[in-house]
Amino acid sequence: MKISKVKVCVLRIEGTNCEEESYLAFKRLGAKPEKVHLKQLTGADVTADEKRSLSDYHMLVLPGGFSSGDYVRAGAIFAARMKSRLSKDLVDFVRAGKPVLGICNGFQILVETGLLPAMSGVMSDVPEAVLGTNDSGRFECRPTLLRKVNRGRCVFTTKIPEDKISLIPSAHAEGKLMFPIERRDRILKELYENDQVVFKYVDPEGRLAGYPWCPNGAVDNIAGICNRDGTVFGLMPHPERVFFRFTHPDWTRSPDGSGDGRAVFESVLDYASKKL
């Protein structure tokens, strides 16, 4: 499929606030993104010509923000609303090999929906992980360094060399990835074996480092994970905010070129153009 034909659904509800940058990232690379409200997919309170079907799209993006005010838990309400009406559509979407990207609040939504880490099957009934309150107890907003540790499974990072350190900013209060304490080690082992760990927070030398390099205290410094097929990917930092080099905080002192986040969108469009 030609990239110009790839239709991307950038899904929002009240409180989503990163849809514009996510939309533009795909638009600038020549794809066909559209900002879609969840109501348009569920068909509630919309006119006939506003109605959309998830199956009409080739890619789903859950952008960052504070959906439903982060009430109950970050992402929980968005997840519940999606699950109540779109469960089957979502499972079919993922089964068809169509990519799903969750950034920041979108990652929280994917975890609450059970689409990540999805240790068995496509979507778990109950969440198997959580993005809990940062260790600092505060909203952490700053550039973070991510090392790509994925060995090739994740379709969103194929254009990023292994071990490359990317500067991708973080902005969240609940980004501490956790698994059930009693099963944590086994789940981690499985994640590594399946090549589901994608990005880790590191210091400038690429070492796993504590606060503030790791803004939240996530287990093993994990910033992003994917499902077993590598087609569902969630991460806390915002690649769409560093599409251009000039939005890097150190852009006057760094070599010319594109922003570090751009490769995420290029990778997945490359996948879409070859596999869909």
Binding site: A76, E112, P127, T133, N134, D135, S136, M178, P180, I181
Partner: protein
């Protein structure tokens, strides 16, 4: 009418940064003898029907939305 009080708290061993920060602030304000602070979330759910049905319904609400089993324990009290 039944009112269900749902208490969602963190499991033992799960860090509670909000509680720890509050503890620190209380100490800074000069309160002595504060050993620990835990944050707990309480929902009051008003529903029609009898207590028996309500109990099962609220249980399902907790599993589907109000608690994340990875870090939360919940308890339900009917009033």
């Amino acid at each position: 009418m039944v009112v269900a009080e749902v208490r969602v708290e963190l499991k033992k061993g799960v860090a509670d940064p909000e509680g720890k920060n509050t503890l620190k602030a209380l100490e800074l304000l000069g309160f002595e003898g504060v050993e620990d602070v835990k944050t707990v979330k309480v929902f009051e759910i008003e529903m029609v029907g009898n207590a028996g049905d309500a109990q099962a319904k609220v249980q399902e609400m907790c599993e589907k939305l109000l608690a994340n089993p990875v870090i939360h324990n919940f308890s339900v009290k009917l009033k």
